[in-house]
């Protein structure tokens, strides 16, 4: 990466790359995103202790899998982190206990909230956010995503259906997915 005077100037992708050698870079990433990840978990659980533990597990998993982060050129790791957060939440509900696999591996040593009761309602409406984000897209982008992602069509077939070139179909899918990621990341704040 280009040498930055401080990590504050670095993109998320650069921070994750640099964190393979220097854990300070990961702390900067944490400071950038922890409030929104915590807000996501708090919105779902309405339980401050559970939200904090799920946030801890989210970032512990992010640390352990940071070498597998792929930069799609969007400049932010927020969609990746929210993907981990969703998985941690779903996994905890499935197991009926807060997922602490990564925390344990890192020997994070937090004081856990012993009385946290897992509630299946934590997942209520989780996919509604996805449906709402899809519904808000312009028609062309929404159809392109439905045909390409949901129906697993080839770009050539998507293009034929939408009466455009495969390149245009590809751009619509890319832009649509980017918009959805931004919206889903933002919805966690509410």
């Amino acid at each position: 990466m280009a040498r930055h005077r401080t990590f504050e100037d670095a993109t998320d992708a650069e921070l994750l790359r640099e964190s393979r050698r220097d854990s300070t870079a990961f702390r900067v990433l944490y400071d950038r995103h922890s409030s929104r990840i915590h807000a996501f978990h708090l919105k779902r659980t309405r339980n401050t202790g559970a939200a904090m533990e799920l946030t801890a597990e989210t970032f512990a998993q992010a640390w352990l899998s940071r070498e597998r982060y792929r930069d799609h050129g969007e400049g932010t790791a927020a969609p990746w982190l929210f993907g981990i957060a969703r998985h941690v939440l779903a996994s905890s509900v499935r197991r009926l206990s807060i997922d602490r696999v990564a925390q344990d591996r890192l020997a994070l040593g937090l004081a856990h909230t012993a009385t946290t009761t897992i509630d299946e309602t934590w997942l209520d409406g989780l996919d509604d956010d996805l449906a709402a984000a899809l519904a808000e897209l312009p028609d062309g982008q929404r159809r392109a995503i439905e045909l390409r992602v949901l129906a697993d069509g080839a770009y050539e077939d998507v293009a034929t259906e939408l009466e455009c070139t495969p390149e245009t179909a590809r751009v619509r899918v890319h832009r649509g997915l980017s918009s959805m990621r931004r919206r889903l990341a933002g919805s966690a704040d509410g």
């Binding site: 854990s23 922890s34 401050t48 904090m52 899998s65 696999v101």
Partner: protein
């Protein structure tokens, strides 16, 4: 919880994470040195470094190693067969992988393979739906740039996306 309390708690969590991640980096360096020493010893014993990687694990072990390495393979029931060149192992899933991690096009997607709790190799998606994967063991996975050399042999559980 007030905003200030929440902020303090998040700061405290950040401090705890910083300590743990620093420690994890230090531990990782130690493990790397030990692994290199073991690898050198193994090559010396074998007399050559060109062991056919696929022969080190059975296709059944590889199939079990997919969900152990990546949560997207949960409940996908992979089945694998050894390729003819002795390095690649072809795997097919019974059901499509999870897209919960945000991956919607699996063509070219790279995932780690974990056997006995350690990273043993990696797999590359061969189609957009993620139904077929080519997997490589050990150094072959590093050569294919699926995993880094440092990651090989690391203790690991299912990764995200």
């Amino acid at each position: 919880m007030t905003g200030t309390t929440e902020s303090n708690d998040l700061d405290g969590l950040g401090d705890a994470l910083s300590e743990s991640t620093k420690r994890d980096l230090r531990r990782g360096r130690g493990r790397t040195i030990r692994r290199v020493a073991l690898a050198v010893a193994a090559v010396a014993l074998i007399g050559t470094g060109t062991v056919a990687a696929a022969s080190l694990l059975s296709p059944k072990q590889v199939a079990a190693g997919m969900p152990a390495g990546a949560v997207i393979f949960d409940q996908t029931n992979p089945t694998c067969v050894a390729g003819s060149d002795g390095s690649v192992i072809h795997c097919t899933l019974a059901t499509a992988p999870s897209t919960a991690s945000g991956i919607t096009d699996f063509d070219g997607t790279k995932e780690a393979l974990v056997v006995d709790g350690k990273v043993a190799g990696g797999c590359i998606g061969q189609d957009s739906a993620g139904m077929t994967w080519d997997c490589y063991i050990g150094q072959d996975a590093v050569d294919k740039e699926i995993i880094t050399k440092d990651f090989l042999g690391e203790p690991a559980g299912p990764g995200i996306g």
